[in-house]
Subunit: 413 residues, 2 copies
DNA sequence: GCAATTACAACGCGACGCGAATTAAGTGCG
DNA sequence: CGCACTTAATTCGCGTCGCGTTGTAATTGC
């Protein structure tokens, strides 16, 4: 267990304040105090330190209290967007997506490389990633040494701590240290994270989970990912392993054990006899499910059934998750959602049937169709989240700024 | 999020020290410092405060360092067993089990009431619980006002915070406030917890999870319970709902959705055509599975198949849990384990088949057949765990003991 | 009996968060 | 135009925390 010392205490409160500023944008100190339940004194001290470190800046406008604004006006605080830049990336089997963001997660540049990395050797993938990162950083008008952290996200079972990829649909080899390969090439702090966790952070920071510190996210793409946000933080297993959903067994008979991924992954939906080359091409381009939807609408009954079957399986799996985690919200994302109601109707039905009665109204299900860029942005958010928590400045006590003290004393009197 | 203040800091470290003393029995201050990674100074201050509050006591013996014990001998510290007493209880459908423990969880008295509470109104059950608590406390030679907390555990979905029972196999009604009913009768602090969480704590404190801060426990009885220990603490869902396993759906088709409880609960195993009255009677007495094992050994093929089917389903469910939580250990408990290998062979086989390759060696499966009393003791441990964390003494700073100071100064010189 | 060794307590330091008092920076009314 | 009023933010002093250093206590070995 982590030992509790003043340093930890400050780290917690600093993060809390910084995160509050991020979430509510321009916000005054008083309001931070109200939201964090820290005293005004403490908030002042912490914000002074943050200002000193250049992580936030002041703005003397935007006080939007109701009309009669009596008293000393509030000084609004915002993140200093220039405080740091990070790169987030999504590695999928048929494309690499990069984005550079500033300190508050605004996208400065983004880049999609539609290359099929599927089953390539790690070293080759790492080369591609290096290339993408360098180009995207250049596009943002930055130099590589201005990037604080690179965060890579990909499907599969990832050891967050070590940056090892235990297994992934996009990797041929198992148990490779992706982090090491990237650090060797870029010499920048690198984080490797499951793509589901990345998009979970994205939803929490920018999307449908902004107002909610506890939710479960299910990512339905080629792989089936799972992200759990618990108390505002990503829930990682005991060994910092990321969670996956595709390996969930749907069936009671080990002889006929069917994994969820065999029912609900994109590959599974297409694995009728659809050798249709147009569809396969569309999938290469990452628009497979849109095409599939089109085919269903044109009357392809086989695909319709496959979609419904996938939806049913997912509905059940989600009900199982709700029974396990009892989250107030379940967010669904991923390219497979392009199937629309062909997937969702059966999903909702199966969920409703499967969810036990006392948990009926525990979880609200939210569908969110998101862009690839948001996934990459989520990876960036993972990186930023770690920056927010790490100590800046001079291992920094919340010291009163000495510089100001001098000028004040001399000029003022 | 909890705001970090000095009080929280002290609570954490105090708990940490107290818990270390509990786990390692007679232990010196230096050793506590090593184990908690707190400085010797801090440990001294905290232990002084704990001594002051009477929660621990010193013992000038038992220094078991290797032969050549040079230097000032270590003073060993132990919990003061008299510091508090709690009652733990297990409420099952056909029996109530109580135990009174002292501050370190030793059982002072225990009591089993073989009554069928199944489907009784809450008020009646509460009456029975009241009765049992009073009798058990008396058996321990104590008065009711010497009991600090009562912790009740029962199967089902429990809201730990409010003490409400959302649904339980032993309750006829849904969504009742058991805590309230008990407090009204006994006027003692009451905790309501799922029985799976209770036995999880029992395994952590006294059983097969002593050395391990992260594990998953599956309780296989009439109901199927799930306990998750994460970082040394019970993992509770966002709403402090306890987790259950029986509602996990084993199947992909919503039309034929089968809950795990329909395959692996004791009722399910017996629900062949076994109206055999001897078996039913045995079940009433809580020895059903032992009898079933006997019948299987006598050649009852139907039951053998049912047991194997249950094992398979459980093996798959456990594999799913491992895929979700990646725990280093999975502990299996519960009366159904009396079936022995008739259950476990198929369980192991199904688990091995279902677990995805990269997670092959993540989790070690441990079978632990435990007594009813341990469940009740686990409930007591839940109560004690909360006591360890709560502030004692005078909202107590780690003050240097004033009393001792006086006598020392006056007597010593 | 004295040195060496080890455990523990006492003291002082720096940092934290908080409440009360103080200063800053506006609005509104006469 | 100026003065009271109001609210925001800072400063100050207090109590607490954990930690490093120093001092003291209680042994063993020679």
């Amino acid at each position: 267990m982590k030992t509790a010392d003043p340093e930890l205490m400050r780290a917690i409160n600093r993060f809390h304040v910084l995160d509050t500023i991020r979430r509510f944008g321009a916000i005054s100190r008083v309001e931070i105090g109200e939201r964090t339940v820290l005293s005004a004194t403490t908030v002042s001290a912490i914000t002074a330190s943050l200002l000193d470190d250049g992580l936030i800046s002041t703005r003397h406008e935007g006080d939007l209290r109701s009309g009669g604004a009596r008293g000393r006006p509030r000084v609004m605080l915002t993140l200093n967007p220039e405080a740091a830049r990070v790169v987030g990336a999504k590695i999928a089997s048929n494309r690499l997506v990069f984005c550079v963001t500033n300190f508050q997660g605004d996208v400065l540049a983004s880049l999609t490389l539609p290359v099929r990395v599927d089953r390539l050797p790690v070293e080759v993938i790492a080369d591609l990633v290096e290339d993408g990162v360098r180009r995207c950083v250049m596009d943002a008008g930055l130099a590589l040494n201005e990037i604080k952290t690179v965060a890579l996200s990909l499907p599969g079972i990832i050891e967050h701590g070590t940056g090892r990829v235990r297994s992934s649909a996009v990797f041929r080899d198992a148990n490779v240290s992706l982090k090491e390969a990237i650090v060797k090439r870029l010499d920048i702090d690198t984080i490797v994270e499951s793509d589901a966790n990345a998009i979970t952070m994205a939803e929490h920071w920018f999307g449908r989970g902004r107002d909610c510190d506890d939710f479960v996210l299910v990512a339905i793409e080629e792989s089936l990912g799972l992200g759990v946000l618990h108390g505002g933080q990503l829930f990682r297993g005991a060994r910092e392993l990321s969670l996956t959903l595709g390996d969930m067994i749907m069936g009671s008979d080990p002889e006929h054990a069917i994994k969820l991924s065999e029912l609900a992954s994109e590959r599974a939906i297409l694995d009728g006899d659809h050798g249709d080359s147009r569809v396969r091409d569309a999938i290469r381009l990452g628009q497979g499910m849109g095409r599939v939807r089109g085919l269903i609408e044109e009357g392809d009954n086989e695909l319709r059934i496959a979609a419904a079957r996938a939806g049913s399986a997912l509905g059940i799996a989600i009900a199982n998750l709700v029974a396990l985690f009892a989250p107030p919200r379940v967010i669904l994302v991923g390219s497979t959602l392009a199937l629309g109601d062909y997937l969702l109707d059966s999903l909702r039905l199966a969920f409703a049937k499967a969810i036990p009665d006392p948990l009926k109204n525990v979880a609200q299900i939210v569908i969110d169709e998101v862009s690839d860029e948001l996934w990459a942005r989520g990876a960036a958010a993972v990186a930023l989240g770690e920056l927010y928590g790490s100590p800046w400045g001079t291992t920094g006590p919340a010291r009163r700024s000495n510089t100001t003290e001098f000028s004040d004393t001399e000029a003022g009197r």
